[in-house]
Symmetry: C2
Subunit: 102 residues, 2 copies
């Protein structure tokens, strides 16, 4: 069995982000927080282009962190939202793996 | 205790995305998948502006889904990356809640 530090539900991660940053996120507001998310996605692109592994991992972390912050200030439960749409099958073709034809 | 459908580790969600979409994600490749992520972030912006609650939730789901797809084709464990950077305290000031001064 793994300890708490090894595993984390999406919901727990979002709650951790709330604990750490909600005071700042709510002050900054929706638009400012969304713009930060966009900036982090751009930094992820740069890291992927540069190819530094550690930097890529840190930028993935930042994108999910800012997505969680945005979810916190909009009152969305990221985990519930994700599982409501992706419940072990493709939401379009209802198959697993996805067998959509385009 | 909640059932499997109510809870999901970030890692499990990423694995589910792999099961559903890896065949397509790997064919599409890094750039195409990154561009989809950017498009989903833009759709999230539109949903937030329009204010339809259900649509906002679906777009949050899509962003984390495409971020997971991107992590799958780059071989990054999103959960490990997130917890390596955000381990219950701010990575900059090392405090919880964050007490960074700007």
């Amino acid at each position: 069995m793994q300890g708490d530090d090894d595993y984390m539900h999406i919901q727990e991660f979002q709650k951790m982000m709330r604990r750490l940053y909600f005071h700042r996120d709510s002050e900054r507001g929706l638009k400012g927080t969304f713009n930060w998310l966009v900036e982090e996605v751009e930094e992820l692109r740069e890291a992927l282009e540069n190819g530094d592994r550690k930097e890529v991992e840190r930028e993935f972390a930042d994108v999910i962190a800012w997505l969680s912050s945005l979810a916190n200030i909009t009152g969305v439960d990221l985990e519930k939202a994700a599982l409501a749409k992706y419940e072990h099958k493709c939401p379009k073709c209802k198959k697993a793996p996805c067998a959509c034809t385009f």
